[in-house]
């Protein structure tokens, strides 16, 4: 079977919401209701739909399992937790994190907890954990970059929406600002050309 993340067109670090969204977009595209029964594309669409469903189920199993076979290392093996996070086994990672005693939770704990929360879509608590990690270890660049993850994921929000029409408004119109700017330009150019005012 192809890599399930590749089938859905997402990266391993995608949040649960991004995965669900990718699944729904593909499911709408290849849904059997979109094709007439005698359409030659109908059979291809059905196969594609099967592949998409299998990929989604596989990813859900990996992420939501929560039955860690590595629970023996509850002594705070952050390397193990990071490995699980990189393999997108977030539920397992969270299980180990929650097993660490409250007194032993340092900056790295809060940072890794933030990553796991964010992947689950619990943004507000994730923000708090990033803040705690940064305040416990202000010099750590990795923790400081945590908040940038939000900006990165939100960057496509509102793309293509331009209701204020600011770009189009002055296409064929002259406003006061345009006139002033025009005069200032003329002024600069004449002083450049003539060398005097």
């Amino acid at each position: 079977m192809r890599d399930p993340y590749e089938v859905l067109g997402v990266t391993r670090s995608a949040t649960d919401e991004e995965i669900k969204h990718a699944y729904r977009v593909l499911a709408r595209k290849y849904h059997p209701d979109n094709f007439k029964p005698d359409d030659p594309m109908a059979e291809l669409a059905t196969e594609k739909m099967k592949e998409i469903n299998e990929a989604y189920d596989a990813i859900q199993k990996m992420r939501i399992s929560g039955t860690s076979s590595t629970s023996g290392s509850a002594g705070g093996n952050y390397a193990e937790i990071r490995r699980l996070i990189n393999s997108a086994r977030f539920a397992d990672a969270e299980l180990i994190l929650d097993g660490i005693a409250a007194s032993a939770r340092g900056a790295e704990w809060h940072y890794l907890k933030a990553i796991v929360l964010m992947r689950r879509g619990w943004n507000f608590d994730a923000q708090k954990e990033f803040d705690t990690a940064c305040s416990m270890d202000p010099s750590n660049e990795e923790y400081a970059r945590g908040r940038e993850m939000f900006a990165k994921r939100t960057s496509s929000y509102g793309n293509g929406y331009n209701r204020t029409g600011a770009d189009n408004a002055n296409l064929h119109e002259c406003t006061c600002c345009d006139l002033c700017a025009g005069w200032m330009c003329m002024d600069c150019m004449t002083s450049l050309c003539c060398g005097c005012r």
Binding site: E17, K20, F124, D125, T154, Y157, R163
Partner: protein, 292 residues
Amino acid sequence: MFGYVRPFTPELLVRENEFYRAVYCGLCRSMRACTGLCSTFSLNYDFVFLALIRIVQQKERCRDKMRRCIAHPTTRRPVIERCEALDYSARASALLTYAKLRDDINDSRPLRAFACRLALPFYSAARRRAGADALYKTIEGLLCELSEIENKREASVDAPSDVFGRLLGTVFAYEVRPIERDTAESIGYHLGRFIYAADAAEDYAADLKSGSYNPFVCMSDGKALTPEEKEGIRCAAMLELKYLADAVSELDFTGYATIEGIVKNILYLGLPKRIEFLGDTGKDADKPGKDT
């Protein structure tokens, strides 16, 4: 918390604003017909948004007619005729209002609890007429779950937001066409999470003073929010809006250009306005004006 989901009217096209008003009036009419006159007191813009999404998902045809009404007896105005989407929004509004009143009777603030007790009998009839018993049971159960989390005063904003999101997700997805169900649930879920968290952030200063439950207060150390903390909350809320926008982008707005314009205005202008105060530096801002 109600009345949060509104467009930024200065940037609506005239035809979009007129259609929006007509849907609002149409919702009032549906409420009178489906759940009785008393239920119209809880008429608010959030359920107009629910109706708009549902019209697109259920592929309803909207017709309008010039009508007078009790609130505006002198002039006729365009009103969208009753349809499944409007009737459902009316019923959902009655169920949610009734469930919220029952929940608030146990509020610690005696005046609020008393006001709820007074209002409850008027909504009992509306709740009965609304039907949808399965939906009501789910709403009641989730509000109960929410109360438990709030009473525990857990240091988490996402725990209660998640429950409220699931509540609104259920309302949006109820009896929608199967192919649209997941999208509807996702729209309701992210909208619910955003509303709950943004409302709590807005009430932070007041709740800190009065000692009322506020998830952000539970997470903080009893001080006012610093500008960095506010920026953090704003980033998290914007990410929630991004997920909401993704879910809305799955809808097929073909033939619904006006509704698309309104929904996108709400999504990219109206809702971000609710968290604009978080971008203010200095003292906590007053509540943003609702009359945009």
